[in-house]
Amino acid sequence: MTGVEEDPLPRLPELPEPGAVPVTSPRVTDQVPEAPGDDAGDRRARWQEAARLFLRWRDQGDARALDELVRLLSPVLWHVVRAYGLRRETAEDVVQATWLTFVRKHDTIVDPLAVSAWLTMTARREAWRTAKIDGRADPTEDEALERRMPTSATAEDQAMGELEAQRLWDAVGGLDERCRRLLRIVAFDDRPDYRRIANDLHMPIGSIGPTRQRCLGKLRARLDGPEGMRRG
């Protein structure tokens, strides 16, 4: 059922086109959901920090705050863009185009808490457009890249475990493209933020929930071993 001519990703809660209706989201003071884990907490800290830096730049003209915002969110945009199968150089171009669009159109973002969501949405649109124009990257590129990377045994490796990463990498590699893309995007997106914004705008979360569930289900089946493996 994957459409060929449109972004096969289920839509995240719709945010207005950059440059269209101003985005609104909950007030800063509303944002105190409990953190289920460190990563989710980090993510929340990240979009709140993004909002703070955006305000310092927009309202106080602090150019260094913009620099810090770019430093904070460029890695996130990288992963979102790479989810579209773009080559690394092209991915970097798309991340750069996203930032330049942001500088030109930032006055359409009324609520600073929507900054992260606006950026990832813009990056996704640009990545999708670029993937269509350029033709897709060689599908084996990711595997080739992975094989080139040296396996180092640092302390950081122990924290997560190379084996665990490799197991996940292999399992994800066996999923269809649609699931791989969806999981990478939602893994780096500021999920709590999206949900709040969707709620506030009375917008449906759309098919993202069920599709995410389906993809995670497939992934778990692969992780559970051969007998748990299912087709598709």
């Binding site: 150019a63 620099d67 770019v70 430093r71 890695p75 790479r82 330049l100 992975e146 665990e164």
Partner: protein, 156 residues
């Protein structure tokens, strides 16, 4: 199928593990953030650009393909060399070199701007530039910090 808070949290943990996996397996280039910062900075006219001083020996506008204008700008920390040449189609090409190496550069005229193509070792180039009064803004890294510079106007 039971959808509850626990499975939501479980999904969240799985997605967090996936994020860590991709951070490890397909990390962005180490200097990505710095290049992005420079690209954004050079686009931002509200910044305070330090004005470089022209130290060129002679300057006369380029009119033919045979002519080549060399301009040199500097301050105590940074120096920039620009070669302006005319192309067959009546446009100009500006080849530049800087020390320290540029991270991003723009050539601007009244109504238009050209982004620099960056090459290795501080070289950069603006192609198909219209003749006219121009200046170049550039971002370099000095002592670990990014610094913004602008040249005085010159004719290309």
């Amino acid at each position: 199928m039971i959808v509850n808070v626990e499975s939501e949290e479980e999904d969240g943990r799985m997605l967090d593990a996936l994020a860590r996996m991709w951070e490890r397996k397909d990390a962005p280039p180490v200097d990505l953030a710095e290049r992005m910062i420079a690209a954004v900075a050079v686009d931002d006219l509200s910044r305070e650009y330090a004005l470089l001083t022209e130290v060129s020996a002679d300057r006369a506008a380029v009119r033919t393909e045979q002519e080549r204008l060399t301009l040199q700008f500097s301050d105590e920390t940074t120096s920039v060399l620009l070669h302006v040449s005319a192309t067959e189609n009546g446009l100009r090409r500006v080849d530049g070199w800087s020390e320290p190496a540029v991270l991003a550069a723009r050539l601007s005229q009244d109504a238009r701007e050209w982004a620099a193509e960056l090459n290795e070792q501080g070289r950069f180039a603006f192609t198909d530039v219209a003749p006219g009064l121009s200046s170049v803004r550039l971002i370099v890294r000095l002592d670990g910090e990014l610094r913004e510079f602008i040249t005085p106007q010159f004719e290309v």
